[in-house]
Subunit: 498 residues, 2 copies
């Protein structure tokens, strides 16, 4: 077994080299590749992705994985056992996928991404729908090749993103969340309290926003010697290699708060990455954090930290110094402004309260689309109708509607993670507040204490435990929206004075 | 033969995919990789460089190249013949280099680059000298593996950079150039004319310099849909793929002119790349332009265009508009300031006249170092002495002396190309001025006419002809510093009024 484990790890090390190269290329593709080179760069990325797929799914790798899995009780190191289990799981998913099929799939995804950019630019869903259909179909085709697939197509995608959570779990979860949010939104709507918002769209040059973004990342504990901040169309964070976790953002001259919270959010992902255990890296199990766990961390920094009274107090002096455009805005006004609850069109710009409804809309649509309950032509109408029904807003065009997010260019299943993440973090916040003086730490900028707590509690088992096991281990409870709704109610009661 | 040519091209196409990936990774490495990830990124790049080497030097490739070369009279398309000849040449250089040796060499070069960055930061040549010695040794070792090597080590390196030009040619060339430059510098020194220089180090925020850099590149005909502008330590231009030629620069707050001329220079390289013939790309002979040819173009745009009275006239309004820090500087004062002749420490900041002496110093040192005529410990002293002798300046530290340039981290042979390039471009300028109203075009910003002339005359045969053949074809003459010295004398006589 030792020999086989060694051979396995030699292969994993080579695969890591490929992933490193692909990470750099994908980062380039998402940040700076010039328009007319998009296609040729996508071709090159697809070629190497496919080579990577071949390495990961070679006959020898399959043999090794199956054999090690069958003999896992003879493996001494529990992290090696965990690795073998995870590889076996992935083996079961991919065993019938040929390199040709994999290449076909990558090509569809990159065509889909390129087409989405153009369709969004043209504000026209019709330009996107054919390739969107192909994305949905090939995802289904891939699932149908699995021997242990779940009956419901969408359940497979959910399970891929957040193992163990399927429709059966999420339907009641989202129902409870929806009801709680709508109740809270109604209370806020009937509040008479007026929040000053005249300054929200003041123009701020991008170079100032860049400076402030770097300040925020450093303040929160992001280590620039192990990362960079770049710009992109749709912000993301990427772990390129052990010492290279990169953050991206998108600047708008007239939406300075948009960038600020986007940077704090993405910085949260990066702080997670920068604080993963070396031992997990050494055992090749550093890539098994679920989306929900990751989003719980990014949205923890974005909202629970970033939109708190204490954080606004902390950054206010630098904010005013950097953006003299806002000199007439008081600390209290800024705090209220970053917490205005206002049903709106764009998910990434949404406040903490209405945000969940944006996710629920996507969840409901994904469910129907993945299971062929609605057709590809019905998408914008349904989208617009749900935005009207749940958020009361009219969608003026597809760029501000169904084309706003990049996620569907690569298929379904990711969106629920954001809402799940919000609920995880509200759950572990309760424990954190018992163990460290959280609010005080934020107020004085002591992110060492906060990040250490996160590292020793939240990050520590994330690569090994399944999401269900992890939240249980961390909080003693199972996923539920209760703590999140309680957190929101307490916070917004004070702001909106109801 | 047709079948073999087809097989060869299939392999070349795969090699191009590797080069594309490596281009992206190297660009990342030179522009944004975070400090603590440098080593792991270098390892990944070296791994794929080595894979590329194996593809390019596989037994089958060698067989194909040799066989096609032996039967080249049966190949119909002259571009295919040219391709086979060039591949054969490279085959002869590399045939005895093993993949292990290639990997060892890459590792030394990347260690050398990383060490150079640190040594430059610490201003200490001693930190660099051991790895520098290894660079020199491994280059020599590689040359000694060639069956058709030239006796003089340095001749091989010169020949690699500028085929057909070796010490025998360059010694008299540089002697004539040196004498001409020193004569001219003496005339300038004894001129009484005073050029205003009080504004040269005024501080200008980097975001303004970024804006102006983009303006300049676009003005000169650089196509941003096929490229990007990024920042780096040591500016370079890189052809990532057919539609992706990237320019880099380095901003200094207090040296706005430095960035301007660096951007115009690198933009010149990129304009060359963006205007190469599709047919050359299709025949895989798009990578055979010599360094001297390339530098002739970049330095044409930088100096002959960029430092001309007409160009300063053209950009002056935008210059003043962007940099209000310079509002009190007249067009005439700006023109004179960009042409101040002042012996100085840094090659890349040097004026057109003294620039050649910076190159001659490097040429003289490379010759001695490559052929073991001086030891590695003597380098800074000799450097400092030559700067005192030729330029009359005292070198205060190694960062401003021997460590200023990146080139030696990858070995010798490149520097002469800059001076050769200056002489090529002065030669073809004479012809250009007969065929198009060059100065008028610059004055009105008609770069279409200029770039088209360059495309149809300078760029057109650069991939096929050797430098010697090319300059003969283009101007009817062989390389000589005469036209360049004449150009300088005419220009500076007017500026310095002697």
């Amino acid at each position: 077994m030792e020999e086989k484990l060694k051979e396995l790890k030699t292969n994993l090390s080579l695969m890591r080299t490929y992933r490193h190269a692909l990470g750099i290329m994908n980062f380039d593709f998402e940040t700076i590749v010039p328009e007319k080179a998009r296609e040729e760069e996508a071709d090159t990325i697809n070629y190497f992705s496919n080579e990577y797929f071949k390495l990961a799914n070679s006959d020898r790798m399959k043999e090794l994985i199956v054999e090690l899995y069958k003999n896992k009780e003879n493996i001494k190191d529990p992290l090696d056992v965990s690795l073998v289990e995870k590889l076996y799981e992935s083996y079961m998913k991919n065993k019938n996928i040929t390199p040709e099929f994999d290449l076909k799939m990558s090509k569809i995804f990159s065509e889909s991404y390129n087409t989405w950019l153009k369709a969004k630019e043209a504000k026209d869903y019709n330009l996107f729908k054919d390739i969107f259909k192909k994305v949905i179909d090939i995802e289904e085709e891939a699932i149908n090749l699995r021997e242990d697939k779940l009956d419901n197509i969408y359940d497979n995608l959910l399970n891929d993103c957040e193992k163990g959570l399927i429709q059966e779990d999420l339907d009641p979860f989202f129902l409870e969340l929806k009801e709680g949010l709508i109740e809270l939104i109604n209370k806020i709507k009937s509040s008479k309290h007026v929040i000053r918002n005249d300054f929200l769209n003041r123009k701020v040059p991008i170079y100032k926003q860049e400076l402030f973004s770097k300040y925020l990342l450093e303040l929160n504990g992001y280590d620039f010697s192990k990362g960079v901040l770049s710009t992109t169309e749709h912000p993301f964070t990427s772990e390129i290699s052990r010492n290279d976790s990169r953050v991206t953002t998108h600047y708008y001259e007239d939406m300075v708060l948009s960038n600020i919270y986007s940077v704090i959010h993405e910085g949260g992902h990066a702080i997670f990455m920068q604080n993963e255990r070396d031992i997990d890296h050494d055992h090749f199990i550093n890539d098994y954090v679920s989306n929900g766990m990751h989003e719980s961390v990014s949205r923890f920094y974005e909202n629970i930290v970033g939109r708190s009274k204490e954080y606004v107090h902390l950054i206010y002096p630098k904010f005013i110094e950097t953006f003299d455009e806002f000199r007439d805005v008081s600390e209290e006004e800024l705090y209220e402004a970053v917490n205005i609850v206002n049903p709106s069109l764009i998910r990434t710009e949404a406040d903490e309260v209405t945000y969940g409804l944006h996710i629920i809309i996507r969840y409901e649509m994904e469910k129907l689309l993945a299971n062929h309950k609605i057709g590809i032509d019905e998408v914008p109408n349904m989208w617009n109708k749900l935005y009207k029904d749940y958020l009361g807003v009219d969608v003026p065009n597809d760029a501000l509607g169904v084309l706003q997010d990049v996620h569907w260019t690569g298929g379904f299943g990711y969106f629920p993670s954001y809402a799940i993440g919000n609920c995880y973090n509200a759950m572990y916040l309760k424990r954190m507040e018992k163990e460290i003086p959280f609010k005080e730490c934020v107020k004085k900028g002591d992110f060492k204490t906060i990040n250490d707590w996160m590292k020793n509690n939240v990050f520590i088992h994330a690569n090994v435990l399944s999401p269900k096991e992890w939240i249980k281990e961390l909080t003693g409870e199972s996923l539920s929206p209760k703590a999140f709704l309680e957190y929101l109610n307490n916070k917004y009661k004070e702001i909106y004075k109801f």
